[in-house]
Symmetry: C2
Subunit: 569 residues, 2 copies
């Protein structure tokens, strides 16, 4: 199996090939991607550096660095016209500031990262308890502070980093101004992906919640998982976190067979699940009663995976706190790895997800529709099916695993390689435009009725069950990731794939239409794919397969013709 | 007012006069009282030491010492036949052991006090998390440990310190063997009062609960109050504690009028009461879900004084945790002070309380009956009304207060002296027997219908309201401590006082009857007063004032006559 992969080392491929694909935008691309979360450790190298570029860092190393950074950070509510110089001077008394930025979320906030953790203790030492009505505040201290007082009013506002995506219409306009479909795809990725600052903020919120949990479990860690850290997160996505209690000491102390020894007296529960519920119940209560800025706390303890849901107002994040969610963590690491292997992976996933959301294929509420995770696995599968494959199969990644990568969770083997330097990729040079068109083509004609999607094998397999859409769970092979999807939803997806595939083949639509300066640009290429479609609605009522020219497209073509005629005249 | 008190310094009186009253039992009395909680700092001096004896330590100093001791202690569940030598060797690895003792409570436990707090950290470092079914234990670590494993079975059991009182019948037998009423009263006090070990355990339990609360409020203290520390607690009494958040730092940081400063963002609540409810709710949840050995947790948050009630199995204590209970703390300190001023105070209170409980005048459940606190205030008032007074009035104690004693709580002046050396006592030499008889006489004929009991003034005052029994709250003068008491209950109390007074005047009853060795001794003196009475029951139905000879007494006198006749024959 390993021999089916080429000899082309990762550090010579992936990022390098993409750089070649976008010669004109490369500099910008590098800079922008340099601030990105998952990509931060794998910046696009300059051409001359490609040969020397080191492999991306393993997932757990990146996580550990981020956690450590968050522990050295504080979150401060300030006014938009705060005198920045005075503000920084006040903070600098407690040590060197390594990094800081501002953002808006129900007010203006600053994230300040000190060079040393000791500065935090010093800062908190000098921080007051609110004196106005101090008797009616819960005196729970955290690293969420408020700036009080002000000097003379400042003329300029603090420059804020955006923490949300641009609206879809604005995105369509931005894409319409790009000069190639490849550039449109990367532009969309740049607009949607998490920024360096946003990831910093996510880890900081986890760290604040950790302070609450650590009150009782000093060795615990709150780890973000899912889209916040898998490289595929969109600005504004939920913050999933899990309470990791595995680091609790005292489990490895050997109790001698003879003689006396001591152990902690601890409350017993009927099952591990009951323990999880107990712990989440208490932490949920604390978050609710003590956690500043934490609102709408819900304890959803009877769910399959018990969780505490709350909104963290100062960051604007919707948070889900779980415990004992190790398989989800492994899935996150796998997606991170695939995303960091070749930059086209993330571009494709962002584009397909954005396209799906624009057409209501996915939704923020649960239902019979396809999930973002399912879509991501479908993109990965598609990229495994290219010739040559762009990314390896999960089975191959498992073969490459070292002894330290061994992981069996609840009987499921979740082992795969974490060291990027061990992974060799094929020399696939397809452009994003080609890949996007092929993606729609691929799933527009996929044999969903018979076949199952399986990224472990990287091959279609016969469906083991009758669900309309079958995508094997990578780590729990007996489970279908898309079990929830009904026939109607799958049909809509297929019809939209067919339509989009057809659209990208129209030369009128797939070339830039360049409007004049200041004018609303004419949508083209990827932008066209994001415009509202009629096909999904109609599909539900009439069977019109192989008839992709919807009303929308007809009128679009009509308008293009008119424009051309106007130009000529 | 001050001039009404004599020139006799405390260190020359009180304990000294008592020592004279019990020349034969003095040595024993000293030793026993030396192990007592409130009296620990005020041991009965040898006669020759009386002049040099230092005044008792102020309440807060004793509390602080006890708290510090508790922080250096651990609670360990062991087997009754544990090899003590091996056990102590295991612990000694972590530092010098200053004190230890064993007791029984749903198993055998050891309280171990190290000389240094660092030993605790070292001990916990070497403590294992239970390995059997470790997945179904809540991994919350505390200073409640279990001893595992064993060497060869030991022949001897660990010697346990009693943590409960002897049954009333056993007490009656013990008292009947004493040779004077004075000795009976001190014997009862010795049998009932908290031991040194029991007080240690009470502070340790508070310290364990503090560890839970300190997770969120690092500077908090859990303070025991009421009978656990006021000197009047009986073995087995409830453990009342309150969460003191006043030490939280950051309240005194001055926020500059100009320029910038930082303050914590904290959750706001509509009132201080709501904050208390929030905090107790979370701590109650933690105690319930995490606290090893804590069972039957009830959050009683809508009470006038919100509280969390739970049973702490390893200690056997029923615990009530409140917050913001400062007046109760001041009451505790006042009782402590009165009890430490003259040993007769505690003896009288223990005796009257025991007598009242034996006759159902007081009860462990709330109702229309007299409370222990009311009874205690009645004893204090009685001792203030002696000629010369045995204890000063609260007004006088307030006059003696220094600047550091100033205390105003919710508008009520709770100021009184804390330095014992400032207090001068009168030279009253009445014996306990005299006092007891006079007490029953005093309240058997007290003008309850018109007068109010007031220890602030040390004088009866006209009743401000129509309640059957009116005892002014020492620190909230508008409140009646015994508002709950109804006419029937007061009548029962008065009737029993009359009966007891009458009994103590009977020479047959008030002199030792001395049975032969090994035989059940004939009740006499105080023992007689604890035997079941008919008067309380009858009183409710018929008005038989000034007719104290109940059926019980008749039969008692009858039996005494018979015995005398037997002796003669």
């Amino acid at each position: 199996m390993a021999s089916s992969f080429g000899v082309c080392r990762l550090h010579m491929r992936g990022w390098g090939s993409l750089a070649k694909s976008f010669p004109k935008t490369e500099a910008c691309f590098q800079r922008k991607f340099g601030t990105n979360a998952a990509a931060a450790q794998a910046e696009v190298p300059r051409k001359e550096e490609i040969e020397e570029k080191a492999a991306p860092k393993p997932f757990i190393d990146v996580q550990a660095e981020r956690q450590e950074q968050a522990e050295r950070s504080v979150l401060i509510s300030c006014q938009s016209k705060t005198n920045e110089k005075k503000f920084l001077k006040l903070l600098s008394k407690h040590g060197d500031i390594k990094k800081y930025f501002y953002y808006e979320s129900y007010g203006t906030y600053a994230v300040v990262e000190f060079a040393n953790k000791e500065s935090i203790a010093s800062l908190l030492e000098a921080t007051a308890i609110p004196s106005v009505n101090h008797e009616s505040t819960v005196p729970f201290k955290s690293r969420l502070l408020s700036l009080r007082g002000s000097g003379p009013a400042e003329q300029s506002r603090l420059q804020c980093e955006p923490q949300t995506t641009i609206p879809i219409n604005e995105l369509i306009q931005r894409l319409s101004r790009e000069e190639s479909v490849d550039r449109q795809v990367t532009s969309l990725t740049e607009a949607y992906q998490l920024t360096e600052e946003n990831v910093h903020l996510r880890f900081l919120v986890c760290s604040l919640v950790k302070d609450i949990a650590a009150a009782y479990f000093p060795e615990c860690i709150i780890r973000p998982f899912g889209s916040s850290v898998n490289g595929f997160g969109k600005l504004g996505c939920d913050l999933d976190m899990f309470l990791d209690l595995d680091g609790i000491s005292g489990r490895n102390i050997k109790v001698p067979k003879t003689g006396l020894s001591l152990e902690y007296q601890m409350k017993r529960a009927s099952s591990e699940r009951a323990v999880t519920q107990s712990i989440l119940s208490v932490i949920g209560e604390c978050v609710d009663q003590f956690g500043p800025g934490c609102v709408g706390v819900q304890k959803i303890l009877n769910a399959r995976c018990p969780l505490v849901r709350f909104a963290h107002q100062p960051s604007g994040f919707q948070c889900d706190l779980t415990a004992n969610n190790r398989v989800a963590m492994k899935s996150t690491e796998l997606l991170y790895l695939y995303g960091a292997l070749d930059q086209r992976v993330r571009c494709m996933v962002f584009t397909v997800r954005c396209w799906a959301r624009a057409h209501g294929i996915t939704s923020s509420i649960p239902g019979a529709w396809i999930t973002n995770f399912s879509l991501t696995v479908m993109v990965l599968f598609f990229l495994q099916r290219r010739s040559p494959p762009i990314i390896p199969t999960l089975d191959h990644l498992q073969e490459l695993a070292g002894p330290g990568d061994k992981s069996v969770i609840e009987g499921n083997d979740c082992t795969f390689v974490s060291d990027f330097s061990k992974i060799q990729l094929h020399n696939n040079t397809e452009t994003l435009e080609q890949l996007l068109r092929e993606f729609f083509e691929f799933y527009g004609s996929f044999a969903f009725t018979k076949m199952s999607i399986n990224i472990r094998k990287g091959k279609e397999q016969n469906k083991p069950e009758v669900a309309p859409l079958h995508i094997q769970n990578p780590f729990e092979p007996s489970l279908n990731v898309s079990k929830n999807v009904n026939g109607t939803q799958l049909e809509r997806f297929v019809a939209l794939c067919q339509e989009s595939s057809w659209l990208l083949q129209q030369s009128d639509i797939s070339t830039p239409r360049g409007g004049s300066e200041g004018q609303t640009p004419v949508p083209w290429g990827l932008a066209t794919l994001l415009l509202p479609s009629q096909v999904a609605v109609i599909k539900g009522r009439k069977k019109r397969k192989r008839e992709p020219a919807s009303e929308r497209i007809k009128s679009l073509l009509e308008s293009l013709k008119n424009k051309n005629q106007q130009k000529k005249s």
